[in-house]
Amino acid sequence: MKFGKSAVLALTLAFSVSLAACGNNNNSSSGSSSSNNASGSANTASSAPASAESTLSGSIIASGSTALQPLVDQAAKKFSETNSDVSIQVQGGGSGTGLTQVSEGQVQIGNSDVFAEEKIDDAAKAAELKDHQVAVVAMAAVVNKEVGVTNLTKQQLVDIFTGKVTNWKDVGGKDQGIVIINRPSSSGTRATFEKYALGQKTEDLKGSIQEDSSGTVKKLVNETPGAIGYLAFSYIDDTVQSVQYDGVDPTADNVTSGKYPVWAYEHMYTKGDPDAATQAFLDYMVSDEVQNGDVVELGYIPVSKMTVTRDKDGNVTNK
């Protein structure tokens, strides 16, 4: 009994000590990893002329947008197969988290659905971040299949989302109350939809529903009579009715040709110029292999296919 007790005590002690050690370890390893990076970049800088990809080493942490996470995750795995000395960790957390962490230097890459200037109040901090656009996400308004509407003009959408129109019969549908399934006011998806589909910010209406995940939005639009929401193309399927915008079909082709305006870049931000390993990974993200493979496969639109570009103020120019 006696021995048992002291053994338990010793185990607990050992456990708590190891926990404490864990904390220390974390610190020291993150410290060493950043120094690793530094040495890695020094290495590759010196051997850059040789341009052997396998000499890259270092660890990269990318955090942020959950909308971009699956793509970065999949590309990171493939990248690590050919560059075994580079370890890439991809974390979620949301665009705000990603931008905060990259701006504070906690991670090497911050993934974001929106331009950093739209999220970070401090202009100087936003200017430090370097933008790498890796994909395009387009979204469409979706409605419950029973409402009988397949096309909405910009003005009709504005009227619906500002509460001027509350019944589907006013926009050519059935006599059925409109239920808005929105995103939270801080969401990047909502910011994109408001900016490019509605052209204005909207307030949260009384009785509107806010959900953060695309899956829940889809489920609620499918189940709730008279519901309207908006989803990225990759989430749209037979359970909901996608809606034409000013008569334009929400398809990838219409997005790349510039006819369909409700889309946004997916950004990967670095603080200043990235080190060699990070730069190589970012180059890999925009390579044809990823752009024509993983990007399309996961329902994004390749940024290389776009025939138009758009800056952070929303000005569209032909490439």
Partner: protein
């Protein structure tokens, strides 16, 4: 090794057991140091969490210049146009947790009475483990069941979209059932036998005994359970967020989309940047949650003091 020179006099008298004595003394010291270390660690963690949340929460008012009364009593939550009225969320949190307690308390107390007074053996062996099992179900499961079963049901029976305060309260009430039930069961089980026997001896029936003797005696403990249940409901985020709708408005009916403090924090925290006004406003709400937890703990303490009399 100086300690060896200062051998206490009674040790010299007991020359045959110094080894055992030293071993015991070492044990005492190891135990003392270890427990002190654990307590110190706990205190450091608690103090730093409170400090962190408080400093972030206060900076909304101190650094960003949002007015405190505007935050506590403002009804407009529009972060884009710098309106940070959190009243709809505070209101939503209180209404859902109060309603949850109102729904769950009678059920829990009756279940506890059934387990202890009516079928003590079967109750202890079968019912109590089942109730404890209910406590172990993760909140996301409750939320998902609420969204998939309860919301469509409410939508078809009542006007509205099924989503709202009613759905949130019902999900929460099921989540806090085990908390209240197990505390009430413990209180009832620890009731001295002689009280009940005296009541039976006076010719009282079982119902008269329960309503006249048992319930009044354990009432403070039952209330403790209710308060702890409310504290859990107040702090629950995920399950509520899934079924309440999250519109930042004070709802005009139980079946209209509303928000709680926790749901607005979980919805927006990841999308906002640390240090921005909106992010700080979310920390202020976290501070309110923390302060409410203190209030709940205080109430429980007061109730416990009443129990002892």
């Amino acid at each position: 090794m100086k300690a060896n020179h200062e051998t206490p006099p009674f040790m010299k008298a007991n020359q045959e057991t110094p080894l055992l004595f030293r071993k015991h003394r070492a044990e005492e010291w190891i135990g003392r140091i270890y427990t002190t270390f654990c307590v110190a660690l706990l205190i450091v963690i608690i103090v730093s969490i409170v400090y962190f949340v408080a400093s972030k929460g206060v900076s909304t008012f101190a650094v960003n210049g949002v007015s405190l009364s505007g935050f506590l009593f403002g009804q407009n939550w529009q972060p884009d146009s710098d309106k940070f009225g959190a009243l709809p969320f505070i209101f939503g949190s209180f209404v859902t947790s109060l309603l949850a307690a109102v729904i769950a308390s009678p059920l829990s107390v009756c279940a506890a009475l059934f387990m202890t007074e009516i079928t003590p053996n079967w109750g202890k062996k079968v019912l109590q483990p089942v109730v404890e099992l209910l406590a172990g179900i993760p909140s996301v499961v409750y939320g998902f069941i609420g969204l998939s079963v309860l919301v469509p049901f409410l939508r078809s029976v009542f006007p509205g979209q099924g989503i709202g305060v009613a759905a949130g309260s019902i999900v929460l009430s099921i989540m806090i059932l085990p908390t209240i039930t197990s505390i009430a069961t413990d209180a009832l089980a620890s009731l001295p036998r002689n009280l009940k026997e005296a009541s039976y001896g006076l010719g009282a029936t079982r119902w008269q005994t329960i309503s006249g003797v048992v319930i009044p005696t354990v009432l403070p403990s039952i209330l403790t359970g209710v308060v702890l249940g409310m504290a859990r409901a107040f702090g629950e985020a995920l399950a509520v967020q899934m079924v309440i709708g999250n519109a930042p408005h004070i709802p005009s009916s139980l079946f209209e989309s509303a928000s709680t403090l926790t749901s607005v924090i979980t919805l927006n925290m990841s999308n906002t940047v640390m240090g921005s006004v909106q992010n700080n406003a979310l920390w202020s709400m976290a501070l309110i949650l923390l302060l409410m937890t203190f209030v709940f703990v205080l109430v429980v303490r007061l109730l416990e003091r009443r129990t002892k009399i």
